[in-house]
């Protein structure tokens, strides 16, 4: 058919629909007339002839339907007709529609929310130029088992010199600075970066320029690049800021550029960038490893090739500097993997969870549709009698279910929109790329697609089931609707719902139990009523070690004198904040070469620290005022004592901690172990030094009080300002908050999974209740007969409840089996229990069975209340 004539037909069929239909009717009736006359000519009387003609035609409406079905544009027309019809029939049953839409909205909304997180975190490409060729370059400590160790400047410079697979490599180091320009003194996080840093990431400043090579050399004029947010908040977004100076940590810095909004590298808290300077005079092989390095691969070079080349370079460096590099290698990690590798398993578990929720919602709605189809049988039979073919009926019903799903999807996207905001608000800040989570066209497309798919999934079975009405039966007045095929399908749905819900509940149960295990871990210190805060002194003002030691000593005295304060101490890094200084050490009696020496954490503290933290002194004495800058004393933790002085008294023994320069220290005390790195990690060996000996420029105060610690924060800040009005105080929070923050991520994961499992439980219970209720109603007649024949209420109860519970138990059985296989993927998220934790499996199964029992019991009880006479008459 030519396109022209097709278009013409479409237009005609659409515009002149009524006239064409009228003509068709006329044509058919003329056919019947003509046929009747023909038959009369053959000798029939008029009545017989007409009757025979009608029989031969078969059915005017059916013929008309056939003709219509062959017309151009019929698909479109049918579609609109189906949509109109569908909307009308949904509007007629608002209760049903509302229930279904809410169930679907929960399922689709949860999926859209989690997908938008996955989209923002995993799928969207990083905001750097050609992010696929950006890699992190770490040192790998073979002995320490750390695959992503910070990088030594010496090794970094050698990689840079020798590698040919890297186009550029840059280094960064996060530190802090006291900003005093543009408002109140504020401690900000800054990133010191080498000159190539911005070109490795491929992001130029939005204003001004980036660093040049010269600025890597010490002695050049201090230059700083501001982050967009800092520029806006402290300097009112004035473009003239470029070229002006700002005061940070007691020095004047020239602002040379401003980075575009949203730019960050591994740390979203960074407010400004400063040049990382490498003094060529320094022997960096005497310093520690503290850099992060990031590189851009040359075009065409794969990660594997770069890894192979750097392996070889690493080997060379190991041979050249055995003291420093023995046991150290190089590890290349693609940037995207670096950022999201850690969060991916959690997100995939969550995605599986919401998919289960959606499947349960589907099963629920499918069941609702089945029940409804039973009551619609007469309507369907009528349509079939009027010439609707089975595919036509199926399409009609599918249109209805897709309409439902799309309504659910529309409500779902609203739910997702709200819940993403809640999600971001409650999420711990160490989840990467949270700020990139939005509902973008990809999420909308996903939601639309999943709505369509959902509509087809839950609509198909009911549509196929009920589009096969037995015309005779259905049209008869009072025919009973339910057929056994229908019931089997419904039962299958119940079993599937129970199984799906159980898997989810077990997943959530495992997370909850794991979290409670984590929560019960003994930290080794007492967290109640302790306020912590960090003070970082600018080196420009406190350049002399004794100035710093003096400041913290006086600050500690002032804080201790505050009313309500019981004891005060300070430490370099608070436990459970993920930071530590680590080095190697030797027993004075048994020195080993540096590459074979054991490792220990090193923590400078003030004398009051152990008391303020509630860390018990096991042996010996704590530090006192007299342990000053020249003291050669050290306190060790129990782990170090146990590992290196088994069966001996460590007090009075000597240690050599690798530092610059190395000193021989005498052990004067042993303190209890605490959880330093994370609650789920066993303590490492640790040594404590008196602060005056290693006067760090920053210290974290620990203030134990007799009153609510939060009420002390203003007074504590005042005491610091009394010593130095320009000195900011940062990170004021209670020790409880510090601990809580360290497990914020598992808490968040647990919370999410628990919410989804809760939704699943509600949907599944409503689902089983609905089915049981329906089947009890359907069986009213049967129950009446049974009771009339002498069955007791208990018999009926057993019959109805037994049936439902059988389904539940089958569902639970399948769910347990599926969980045994599926929860394995969660193993990495669990602490203190295995993925097949028996108590969790048992408890969850029991809970689900109990809820199912209630859902079964209520309709069963109603069934037994039936008066046999009414039941028999029921129809």
């Amino acid at each position: 058919m030519s396109l022209f004539s097709k278009a013409g037909s479409l237009l005609r069929n659409t515009v002149r629909k009524r006239q064409i239909d009228r003509e068709l009717t006329e044509e058919l009736s003329s056919y019947i007339e003509l046929l009747t006359e023909k038959k009369m000519k053959q000798g029939m009387n008029e009545r017989d002839a007409r009757r025979a003609a009608m029989v031969e035609v078969g059915g005017v409406e059916q013929v008309k339907e056939e003709v219509r079905a062959g017309r151009t544009g019929v698909a479109l027309e049918t579609f609109f007709q189906d949509v109109r019809y569908g909307l009308r029939s949904l509007r007629k049953k608002p209760g049903f529609t509302l229930t279904a839409v809410i169930a679907l909205a929960l399922g689709i909304g949860a999926n859209s929310a989690i997908f938008s997180v996955i989209n923002g975190v995993l799928l969207r490409s990083l905001a750097y130029r050609d992010p696929a060729s950006i890699v992190m370059v770490w040192e790998r400590s073979l002995r320490g088992g750390r695959s992503q160790n910070s990088v030594s400047p010496a090794n970094f410079l050698d990689w840079k010199k020798q590698s040919s697979s890297l186009e550029q490599i840059a280094a960064s180091w996060d530190t802090r600075a006291n900003l005093t320009s543009g408002g109140e003194p504020e401690e900000i996080q800054v990133q010191k970066v080498s000159a190539d840093f911005f070109s490795v990431l491929g992001v130029p400043p939005e204003l001004g320029r980036s660093f040049v090579r010269q600025e890597e050399m010490p002695g050049t004029e201090p230059a700083v690049i501001l982050g967009h947010d800092l520029w806006q908040s402290r300097f009112a977004g004035r473009p003239a800021i470029v070229g002006q100076t700002v005061t940070m940590s007691g020095r004047n810095w020239t602002v040379i550029g401003v980075m575009p909004p949203g730019f960050h590298f591994l740390n979203t808290q960074i407010k400004a960038w400063m040049p990382l300077q490498f003094d060529p005079a320094t022997d960096w092989r005497k310093s520690g490893r503290f850099l992060r390095s990031v590189a851009r691969l040359k075009p065409g070079v794969t990660v594997q090739q770069a890894q192979a080349e750097l392996d070889a370079i690493g080997k060379q460096l190991e041979m050249a500097y055995p003291d420093y590099n023995k046991g150290w290698g190089v590890n290349i990690v693609p940037m995207h993997e670096q950022i999201v590798g850690d969060i991916r398993p959690v997100l995939l578990v969550l995605l599986a969870a919401v998919a289960f929720v959606l499947l349960i919602a589907c099963a629920n709605v499918a069941n609702l549709l089945l029940s409804r189809a039973a009551s619609r049988q007469k309507e369907l039979a009528l349509r079939a009698a009027l010439g609707a073919s089975r595919p036509r009926l199926v399409r009609q019903m599918l249109t209805e279910s897709v309409l439902l799903a799309i309504m659910g999807g529309a409500l779902g996207i609203l739910l997702a929109y709200w819940s993403i905001h809640a999600l971001i608000a409650f999420a711990p800040d160490n989840i990467p790329r949270l700020n990139e989570i939005t509902i973008d066209p990809r999420v909308l497309l996903f939601t639309f697609g999943i709505s369509l798919l959902t509509g087809l999934i839950f609509g198909l079975v009911p549509a196929l089931q009920s589009s096969r009405p037995d015309l005779n039966d259905a049209l008869k007045e009072g025919a009973r609707g339910s057929r056994s095929g229908n019931r089997v399908v419904r039962n299958l749905f119940v079993v599937a719902e129970m199984a799906l819900a159980l898997v989810l509940l077990i997943g959530a149960g495992l997370m909850l139990r794991s979290f409670s295990q984590l929560h019960q871990v003994k930290t080794g210190f007492e967290t109640e009523n302790v306020l912590t805060m960090r003070v970082q002194l600018p080196l420009a003002k406190y350049g002399q070690p004794q100035q710093r030691a003096e400041f913290f000593k006086r600050a500690e005295e002032r804080l201790a004198a505050l009313p309500g304060v019981k004891s005060v101490g300070a430490i370099s890094y608070l436990p459970l904040t993920g930071l530590a200084t680590s080095t190697s050490f030797n027993l004075a009696t048994k020195p080993l070469p540096p590459s074979e020496s054991p490792a220990t954490e090193v923590r400078p503290i003030t004398p009051g620290y152990f008391t303020a933290m509630g860390i018990p002194l096991v042996k010996g004495r704590a530090f006192e005022e007299r342990d000053g800058a020249d003291s050669r004393v050290v306190i060790i933790n129990e782990t170090l004592a146990r590992k290196f002085f088994p069966g001996q008294d460590p007090i009075g023994q000597q240690l050599i901690v690798r530092w610059e320069p190395d000193f021989v220290d005498e052990i004067i005390g042993v303190v209890g172990d605490i959880k330093e790195t994370a609650l789920e990690q066993a303590p490492n060996p640790a040594v404590y030094w008196p602060h005056p000996r290693e006067p760090y420029q920053f210290m974290n105060f620990v203030i134990r009080s007799a009153i609510d610690p939060a009420s002390l924060s203003a007074a504590a800040t005042r005491e610091i300002h009394a010593l130095d009005p320009d000195q900011p105080v940062a990170d004021i929070r209670t020790l409880d908050q510090v601990v809580a923050k360290s497990i914020a991520r598992p808490r968040f994961n647990t919370l999410l999974l628990a919410i989804f499992a809760g939704v699943a439980l509600v949907l599944a219970s409503v689902g089983i209740y609905g089915v049981m209720n329906y089947s009890a109603t359907q069986r009213t007649h049967e129950v009446g007969i049974r009771m009339a024949l002498g069955a007791t209420r208990a018999d009926i109860m057993r019959l109805v409840v037994g049936n439902g519970m059988l389904l539940t138990l089958i569902g639970i059985g399948i769910g347990v089996a599926a969980s045994l296989m599926l929860t394995r993927v969660m193993a990495s998220l669990l602490f203190g229990i295995t993925a097949t934790d028996v108590p969790t499996f048992l408890a969850v199964s029991l809970v689900l069975a109990a809820i199912a029992l209630i859902a079964n019991y209520i309709p069963a009880r109603r069934a037994t209340r039936v008066n046999p006479i009414i039941a028999l008459r029921y129809e």
């Binding site: 097709k6 003329s30 056919y31 046929l35 056939e66």
Partner: protein
């Protein structure tokens, strides 16, 4: 759906019934019906009953096309531009819709006739082969 006469056409009937699942067979058989309709209309314009009577005559009673398949075919072929229709008077003065071939319809009849002859020759020789 379509009702053809007597025993030997049972197979055709079944295949035709399943036309929504198998487009190829449906096309082939629809083609057959189209060919018959075109042929029936090649001599003179006819109304619906006329077409079905004519087909019955020219196939010597083998095919008896019922309205359920005749009218969809007529309307489809009219949309395709092979037929045109107008209202007129029947032999005994009844108002009826008369169908006649268009130019495109005649061309279609020619090509379909050639095709059919080729196919029936081929199938005939295939069946004679030993």
């Amino acid at each position: 759906m379509t009702v053809y006469r007597s025993g030997d056409t049972l197979l055709l009937q079944i295949i035709y019934m399943s036309n929504s699942e198998d487009e190829f067979t449906a096309d082939l058989l629809q083609g057959t019906l189209d060919l018959l309709v075109l042929k029936a209309l090649s001599a003179q314009p006819l109304h619906g009953l006329g077409v079905s009577t004519r087909i019955n005559q020219i196939t010597k009673g083998t095919f008896d096309v019922k309205p359920g398949s005749l009218f969809p075919a007529l309307h489809r072929m009219e949309e395709a531009g092979w037929l045109k229709s107008e209202w007129g008077e029947s032999e005994n003065n009844r108002r009826a819709k008369f169908y006649s071939l268009t130019k495109a319809g005649r061309r279609q009849l020619e090509t379909e006739t050639e095709d059919w002859q080729r196919i029936s020759l081929a199938i005939g020789s295939a069946l004679r082969a030993t």
